[in-house]
Symmetry: C2
Amino acid sequence: MGALAEGLTRNQALVLDRLVAAGTPLSAYAILDALRPSGLKAPLQVYRALDRLVDRGLVHRLESLNAFIACCHDQHDRTAVFLICQRCGAVDEEDAPTLQGAIADLARASNFAVDSVVLEIKGLCRGCR
Amino acid sequence: MGALAEGLTRNQALVLDRLVAAGTPLSAYAILDALRPSGLKAPLQVYRALDRLVDRGLVHRLESLNAFIACCHDQHDRTAVFLICQRCGAVDEEDAPTLQGAIADLARASNFAVDSVVLEIKGLCRGCR
DNA sequence: GCAAATGACGTTATGCTATAACATTTCATT
DNA sequence: AATGAAATGTTATAGCATAACGTCATTTGC
Ligand SMILES: [Zn+2]
Ligand SMILES: [Zn+2]
Ligand SMILES: [Zn+2]
Ligand SMILES: [Zn+2]
């Protein structure tokens, strides 16, 4: 089946399984289409599951793609950074301790209290450049 | 009238003027509604103008807001960073030389060729924290 | 000049992304 | 069992973005 994490509801597990199996970003509607055979019928079922998964840090939303991707780490000490290949669509998620520091400095200089960071880098991956 | 930059078409000038006057991010549809009295009627008129303005660097798209904001600089030597206040909606655009370097290092380590960077920081601004 | 190419424009229709609102169900706690 | 919290199911709607078509104006090269 694929119980990929404990304490997930059926819908949440379905959505997470699908994202993990894909390994690439999927839109909510792509997830919905993939899960119709499993009984999901409406966008809201997917969006609600995604909300919980994102809250738990098991899934990330990619703002510049309007898509979601399974987290490939156990936990995040640092801000996540996404390297998004514009040719093959691959997305590489990395922690960014150095960037974290630079962002903190920038925010401090502006007297800005950071809550969250969206950091998505577009370009060509190792294999496509 | 407000010819804010040379070489702009009528629609482009209308959209840019509106964004500059707002000083805050506006959605394409908010811009359209504001410009209906000026004769604009369809989303595509706004989106096309925005495309050109973004190409020229006169306007930035904020991915996490699905909105657009006028650039407050003459030109960009560095990647633009946006500090987005979640309480009052203010957006502060800054250059980020230090971050630029950290991003370059990260990309180099992954053998990734950077094309563009989306960097949007959410939190509380100076006045709202 | 004039034809071709280019780019902006106008319009209609369509598609993709996300949430509102409401009723119902499930499950843990008391 | 009663309560409350969270998840679910369903329908409808709102918000964001582009496809596809034809037209018009400007520029470029002959
Ligand atoms: Zn992650
Ligand atoms: Zn690639
Ligand atoms: Zn700018
Ligand atoms: Zn504020």
